[in-house]
Symmetry: C2
Subunit: 367 residues, 2 copies
């Protein structure tokens, strides 16, 4: 392989595929990035076997071929290269790949290109096209509620359920749940898949704004594709729990308030909580919501004016979970709905029926 | 103590004095910040007993007095306060201090104010006034060469030697040395002090640009003072080594080159070095300086065009030390001077006789 490329494009591609590099995998070659020169393009690929990313860009291919370089070295080197054309030269019989720039050069010992795992592109029909902004919204509003727990894989994913052109997206770690509804017109297919939360988080980092993403689904994989970037990920197997029965259909008490005021009060109150179990109390009386903490380090007492419907109440939440939910809601004002001190609290953006998140209260001793 | 202050000013003062807070000190109260309200001002003080910082600003003092609050809580709280007037209320008989803002309040348990160590302001005559930019220049160019080693305290400091209006500032960890000369007109006093490197690093972080700093020296302390900020530090006792005999007075070979080109080549070459002992080779022949590394991970070969006087040579340096020195030099072009492969290399800014740094070569096996 012998190819001349612009430093900027090479850097961009390296930084994108690097997100799939697996540093702690027992297979050493997965710490590498595969470069392949074909016709007038270079393809960069990395994978941790759960997720793979491929990226291509135009280059002057003098001799087609492939090589695999340690991601750590190639990314750091390209980042530090001068803004000159870069010649990458991998001799067929040598594991050393030479990168030339101006009068200088670096040779890096690579891995055998033929040992790099395949990157099979699914050939199933396209499921849908989505603007990256729609996916970004889903990730911002839903992914925070997913778990990160090796024992129960389904909770590490985000459930996508498409029926009659209605897409519902749900994540839950069993302590909290986030739900988003989306109308996808012209999509008649039914779909029930669990996408790893990490896949979605990485996806929105590598796709540029305003791009449209083609989505293809097979029984156990999903492919997200734009013009020059492919992200392929395994799907999570298993049955997502019946979330519908957990979402309360009515409420005893509802308050309307400014999101920012509760975020800030929660953040101040969190200061004096235990880092491992940051519990804050919330009580409501006469249109005043009080956020409070009381322990050895001191006390916090925060008053927030609200619009109250229904009876007064008291409840305790994990402050970090409440904060995550408030930051995800994405609207200036919210409704908080309660059905009792041990039932989940529901957070809804005012004027938007298509999103909610819910949060289990913490049971306090003596309550 | 009862006082009303603006959140912004309180935050600024907390962030300044916090730099002297000692988190891991056996005296728990040193994790605190002392607040004292006197006449129409608040004074904030923190100290780790080696260094103390005091900061004052105008406030509405309703009742004079003092309190000590855990730095961690007060700084995080003030950072998160709304932009409203803040009432700080410390009752005489309670260890709890209440901070009120709008309809909300936080009480933090503090330490007994009378147990906080004194902050004695030296009354010796002023030694000199220096613009903070001069001090910043000294710190940027010299401090990097100081050591961080508990066994040999003098090397953890920066030596200031003032004779006949000439100030020389030196730091060395015995592997490298940086030296700066400065004409201080109208200063007839002689001065021989070693200031902890940490003191100088913190000083330039807390003093705003364009301020003039008053410097007062006692036999074992130094005070840096502006209008409303005091930094007091112990001096390091002991004899600073005779640095003059280490600085080569002549050279066999001298090269002139662009600083940036050597910085970038060194950074790329460092990629393939061992993190614990990042050794790079430098060789000179026919107006080309070659920076190279050769080990299991690969090879780097960097050519830099230079202007050469004297014979060709080869030398090896710690890449990290070389990089520190090159970044401190602060000029577009440098002279590198050599007297032999085991003698220190000297780095000088082109056209500036008042600064240099030197760097001991690394002895390579078989050389």
């Amino acid at each position: 392989m012998k190819v001349v490329t612009a430093r900027e494009q090479l850097l961009n591609a390296v930084q994108i595929v690097q997100r799939a590099v697996s540093v702690r995998n027992p297979m050493p070659i997965l710490a590498g990035i595969r470069l392949e020169a074909v016709e007038d393009k270079i393809f960069l690929t990395a994978t941790d076997l759960d997720m793979g990313i491929r990226c291509s860009f135009g280059a002057e291919v003098i001799e087609p071929g492939a090589c695999v370089l340690p991601a750590r070295y190639i990314s750091e080197l390209v980042r530090r290269l001068p803004d000159l054309p870069v010649l990458i030269n991998a001799e067929q019989d040598s594991s050393s790949v030479t990168i030339q720039y101006g009068q200088s050069e670096t040779s890096i010992n690579g891995y055998p290109a033929e040992e790099f795992p395949d990157f099979p592109i699914p050939t199933s029909p396209l499921v849908c096209d989505l603007p990256i902004e729609v996916l970004r919204g889903i990730v911002r509003q839903v992914v925070f509620a997913a778990a990160n727990n090796e024992n129960r894989p389904v909770f590490n994913g985000v459930f996508f359920e498409l029926v009659d052109g209605n897409l519902q997206v749900i994540a839950t770690d069993t302590y909290r749940l986030a739900w988003r509804k989306l109308a996808l017109e012209n999509y008649e297919q039914a779909l029930n898949i669990i996408i790893p939360a990490k896949t979605l988080t990485e996806l929105i980092k590598i796709i540029e704004p305003e791009k449209t993403v083609n989505i293809t689904v097979t029984p156990n994989q999903i492919l997200f594709k734009t013009e020059d970037t492919w992200l392929i990920s395994r799907l999570i197997e298993g049955q997502f729990p019946n979330y519908k029965q957990v979402i309360p259909q009515e409420y005893y008490t509802r308050v309307r308030l400014k999101t920012r005021e509760l975020v800030e009060a929660t953040e101040r109150a969190s200061l004096l909580t235990d880092d491992n179990l940051p519990i804050i109390k919330i009580s409501l009386e006469q249109n005043i919501l009080v956020v409070s903490v009381n322990n050895e380090a001191g006390r916090v007492y925060e008053e927030i004016p609200v619009f109250q419907e229904g009876e007064s109440f008291q409840v305790a939440f994990n402050a970090r979970y409440l904060n995550d939910a408030l930051k995800a809601v994405g609207s200036e004002e919210i409704h908080l709905e309660f059905t009792g001190p041990l039932s989940p609290g529901v957070i809804k953006p005012v004027g938007d029926q298509d999103y909610l998140s819910l949060l289990l209260p913490v049971r306090l001793r003596g309550v």
